[in-house]
Symmetry: C2
Subunit: 233 residues, 2 copies
């Protein structure tokens, strides 16, 4: 048994206006750092607490539970999205910029893909973005339910596009597979479908980032074309 160190108000550091306590903001930022560095599965309350030099259970003063923390984190990153100004451009440019802005955020934080199907997004940043999209589509001429449908079509396309973009790389990162062996695995899995393999090989022959960007642009243009047509009619 070692003796306890002497401690009293006089030996202890002053409180200094609560500058050293935990903040919800601080917690959220630290969580994002862990998520960016190690992925969704690696975030635990204990690890997060340790990173902040606090006990895991201290977090529960600032945050009701882990799911609520994830909601905060989820909305925080939507704040990074650069939203276009619907007043300064045509609706089509707005839609285009909106979709690319969303995509960029998810590519920067791939763990978002694992949260999309888990949490509803009703935080302030998500709502701000939703309102901007709505406004752009309203100015374009959509009214009533079609205003919703049009917005849903754009965001649906973005979510659905980015998920497969991200799921491979983040699965590979979490279990650290090498990409060559993964490609090989797909090839043997698809042995019955030579045409599918041929397609995968042509796809893989291109620079990944570039071909994905084109893939995204192609689909987005389809969606926007469809919206435009519905507007004219």
């Amino acid at each position: 048994m070692t003796a306890k160190q002497f401690a009293s108000v006089w030996t202890r550091e002053p409180r200094q206006g609560k500058a050293q306590g935990l903040t919800r903001d601080q917690i959220v930022r630290a969580a994002i750092e862990i998520l960016d560095a190690e992925g969704l599965a690696a975030l635990s309350m204990r690890k997060l607490g340790a990173r902040l030099g606090a006990g895991a259970t201290s977090l529960y003063w600032h945050v009701a539970n882990k799911d609520e923390l994830l909601e905060l984190v989820y909305d925080e990153v939507w704040g990074e999205m650069s939203v276009p100004d619907p007043d300064s451009a045509g609706w089509r440019d707005t839609g285009w910029a909106f979709a690319h802005g969303m995509r960029k955020v998810i590519l920067r934080h791939p763990w978002l893909a694992g949260l999309l199907g888990k949490l509803p997004a009703i935080g302030p940043n998500a709502l701000r973005a939703a309102e901007l999209l709505r406004k752009g589509l309203h100015q374009a001429g959509f009214r009533g339910l079609e205003e919703d449908y049009a917005g849903a079509a754009i965001t649906a396309f973005v979510f659905g596009s980015v998920i497969p973009e991200v799921v491979w790389t983040s699965a590979a990162a979490e279990k650290n597979y090498d990409t060559a062996s993964m490609r090989e695995a797909v090839k043997t899995a698809a042995a019955d479908y030579p045409d599918l393999i041929a397609r995968a090989e042509e796809y893989a022959a291109h620079e990944p980032a570039a071909v994905r960007e084109m893939n995204f642009a192609f689909g987005l243009a389809c969606v926007l074309d469809g919206l435009e047509r519905r507007l004219v009619t």
Copy 2:
């Protein structure tokens, strides 16, 4: 201490040709039952083992780990998808049927949404469906990378559409919130955006299943229109 029951080869049931052992198929089916009934978070190896009258660790003979089990489960449900025959209909009908088939599977197994961003889909059922979509788009006239882009656009739209459809109801189910209080929460969260609230209220005024179906049909028609246009040009 209670005495052990007498047991020997003679009192024990015969082996009967290994009819009573666990099967991979059996395990996968039981897992789906749990998932359908209680959702993704409720599935544990221990619970699954118990349901099958076995120890949790027995499962590891048939399955490498939980993630692999989820991959099996994931692919298994894609087997339920009714895939259209691209030879018997125009490509647009095929695309339409394909998208609706996918959507139906996810709506029947909402926990799929939580897996989309987590697991790549390269099981046999997923590949069979992918090949069919590819074939339909090839017959339509898409070639090269555009064949991929077109397929990706359709599946992206379906995934992205169904996620928000499902995430609310499954979040509500897991924590059993009542829908009225959730709607109220959204309303107060969006207090700064009256137009957004107005839209949400008109949306909520309709029969949910019907308005979602229309939402889906609207966006899908946009995507297909866009594809058609790219085909003609």
